[in-house]
């Protein structure tokens, strides 16, 4: 791989666009997952009684159960969203960059 290829890629404005879009997607998604999980754990540590509240009047199932399950489900849905975005438009952009660099 010649260094000219690398220079052409770096000079390509599409490369800037790719890295900006992908890193925004990655960091925002990570933040959502970490905030959701550690947010729940903060409630567990400091206000555990809040999670003992029944889901609705007279129910045994507490608010904590759907919230705990939601962390797992949300995190998984986000991986799906990330993979979808990264494998479609971002990968197309990536391919354009590579094609243009090889010309």
């Amino acid at each position: 791989m010649s260094s000219a290829v690398y220079q052409r890629i770096r000079a390509n404005p599409k490369f800037r666009e790719l890295e900006a879009r992908r890193s925004r997607l990655a960091w925002v998604s990570s933040a959502v997952v970490l905030v959701a999980y550690y947010g729940l754990m903060i409630v567990v540590a400091f206000w555990p009684q809040a999670l003992h509240a029944p889901l609705s009047e007279g129910q045994v199932v507490t608010i904590g159960v759907p919230l705990g399950a939601a962390v797992i489900v949300l995190a998984w849905l986000l991986t799906g969203f990330y993979v979808y975005r990264a494998n479609t438009d971002l990968d197309q952009l990536n391919q354009q960059i590579l094609n243009e660099a090889r010309q």
Binding site: V33, Y37, V44, V60, V83, N94
Partner: protein
């Protein structure tokens, strides 16, 4: 039983939870179940099928790339199953069910902590790993840094994690198989070790991956059948299940909310940092990213893997609560028939007792066989990761400085596999009956404090130099080891001192930030000429990481 449950709960990894508990000297020899022919027949069928896979894989394994990375020819979906298989050992099913059975909602919170590492691994690492590496994560950290020193460091990091993981698995395997199949402990450990060597030495990554896939499908299938049969007894109503579980459990309504397990924020934070970031430093998991043809499939594999893992974790919550009602009130599962006393076979038998209660001997035998199969697949993945560190990193790149042939690299791997197998068997027998929960904390602590910081900095931070990476990684490693020795699990429980010097069982809260700090300072202070070239090389590496330019291509299988 309570004691072994606590041991399990404080072990770092879910993967190990029950293995660690088995390791507590609590195997009740007097309660051995009678020879279970269904289980043995199913297990033999599994072994024959996996040996056939190994034979098939051996004929397809020609190059080093075939051997270490299955020629990059595994699809995203297949790799997702294999990753899920690597992460979910027998202990996940047995340990997580036991945790929910004993502590209810805390069990759900605990498994959630072992789940959130997956999306983070995907968002921040999967693509760059695939684009920069070939066979091991050492490829990535030695790409622009000093090859000899970084490979040596990576091999030490990988081998320590692999061996700690392996010992716990071997001891857990011996105890579990003794209990389920009435086989003597030593023979059980030898059988596991020998089969592991056969899979890896002859079939390499192709066989290891397919064994893992078969086992993951069996585990998901067995768990689902068990879940449906158990849930059916409550009319598929979660509210009914919860109400009956609350009525049956000695803690009553408390099991539906947070209890004492994760109540200490500092301890919980340290545990979860190890779980989340340790995942991104486990060599056998990282190695799976090189078995797919490109970054696109690498991403997909995490999506599938985390789907299977998340589903299974949620399933164990239902299974654990169902067991509270079905197993927890049935005298036939308690020693001496005393409900509320010790469970026959110990706390980790909860899921298997549940299988017997809702599906009879057939389902019990099936799940027991799946548990055995699971152990085999997990140790095979570990052995391959360890052998790759020895041959690809130490032999080919450190001792021979890259001047070697593919054949000799593969030959060294096979020898290394045999050596690892023999050592694993010996250690498994040596540590029989020991409480090994601390090894779990060590494996994840080192993965999170040595492997992960160096890996992520190498990919993200231009300023990282060889000196910074080595000092940072080694200080994380040493700090994790020292803190675990001073922790309650070793200082108090193993060495018999009255009080621990470091109050927490998990070191990551201290050792991981320390590794980052030392790596940062040492890199900043590094004004050598090589440091300058290493920083300059980052720009090209960054282009490769982002675009996959020049990445190792996959071949079709």
């Amino acid at each position: 039983m309570k004691r072994s449950m606590l041991t399990a709960a404080t072990g770092t990894s879910l993967t190990f939870m029950s293995a660690a508990a088995f390791a507590a000297p609590a195997a009740q020899a007097a309660d051995k179940p009678p020879l279970n022919l269904t289980a043995i027949a199913m297990f033999l069928a599994f072994v024959l099928a996996t040996l056939a896979i190994t034979y098939w894989a051996a004929r397809r394994t020609r190059t080093a790339s075939d051997f270490f990375a299955a020629g990059g020819g595994i699809s995203g979906f297949q790799n997702g199953l294999a990753i899920a298989g690597d992460y979910m050992s027998a202990a996940t099913l047995l340990g997580a069910c036991a945790l929910v059975y004993g502590r209810g909602y805390d069990g759900l919170l605990y498994v959630a902590g072992f789940f959130v590492g997956w999306p983070i691994l995907l968002f921040l690492m999967a693509e760059r790993l695939r684009n920069l590496g070939r066979y091991t994560f050492a490829d990535v950290i030695s790409e622009r840094l000093d090859r000899t020193r970084m490979r040596s460091f990576a091999a030490v990091g990988a081998l320590t994690v692999v061996f700690f993981y392996l010992i716990v698995q071997m001891v857990g395997a011996g105890e579990l198989i003794q209990l389920l199949f009435n086989v003597d402990y030593d023979y059980a450990v030898i059988v596991v070790g020998v089969l592991m060597m056969v899979y890896v030495a002859f079939g390499g990554m192709i066989a290891t991956t397919w064994v893992q896939i078969v086992k993951a499908v069996l585990l998901l299938f067995g768990g689902t059948v068990l879940g449906i049969l158990a849930f059916a007894q409550f009319g598929f109503s979660f509210e009914t299940l919860a109400a009956k579980a609350v009525a049956a459990h000695r803690s009553g309504a408390k099991i539906m909310g947070p209890g004492t397990l994760l109540a200490d924020p500092v301890s919980t934070l340290s545990l979860s940092l190890g779980a989340v970031f340790g995942l991104a430093g486990l060599p056998h998991i990282l190695m799976r990213f090189f078995t797919v043809p490109n970054a696109k499939e690498a991403r997909k594999s995490v999506f599938y893997a985390s789907g299977f893992i998340g589903y299974f974790f949620l399933l164990t919550f239902v299974l654990g609560l169902a067991a509270v009602v079905i197993v927890g009130t049935d005298p036939q599962f308690f020693q001496g028939g005393r409900v509320g006393g010790a469970l026959i076979g110990g706390g980790n038998m909860v899921a298997l007792h549940l299988a017997k209660a809702v599906g009879g001997n057939l389902l019990f035998g099936f799940l027991a066989a799946v548990a055995f199969a699971t152990i085999l697949a997990v140790v095979a993945g570990l052995a391959l990761a360890g052998a790759a560190a020895v041959s690809h990193d130490l032999y080919a790149n450190v001792f021979r400085k890259g001047k070697t042939t593919e054949q000799s690299e593969v030959r060294v791997t096979k020898i290394a596999t045999l050596a690892i197998g023999v050592i694993a068997i010996a250690l498994g027998i040596l540590f029989k009956g020991q409480n090994l929960a601390f090894l779990v904390a060590l494996a994840f602590g080192i993965a999170a404090s040595a492997n992960f910081p160096v890996l992520i900095l190498a990919m993200y931070w231009q300023g990282l130099t060889t000196r910074g990476a080595l000092w940072g990684g080694l200080s994380g490693l040493v700090c994790a080891v020292v803190l675990v020795i001073l922790s309650p699990a070793v200082w108090k429980a193993v060495l018999g001192n009255p009080a621990a010097i470091f109050p927490y069982d998990h070191p990551a809260l201290i050792s991981m930030p320390l590794a980052f700090l030392v790596a940062y300072v040492a890199s900043k202070l590094d004004t050598s000429v090589t440091a300058k070239t290493e920083r300059e090389a980052f720009d090209d590496q960054y282009v490769r990481a982002q675009t996959g330019l020049g990445a190792a291509a996959g071949s079709a299988h």
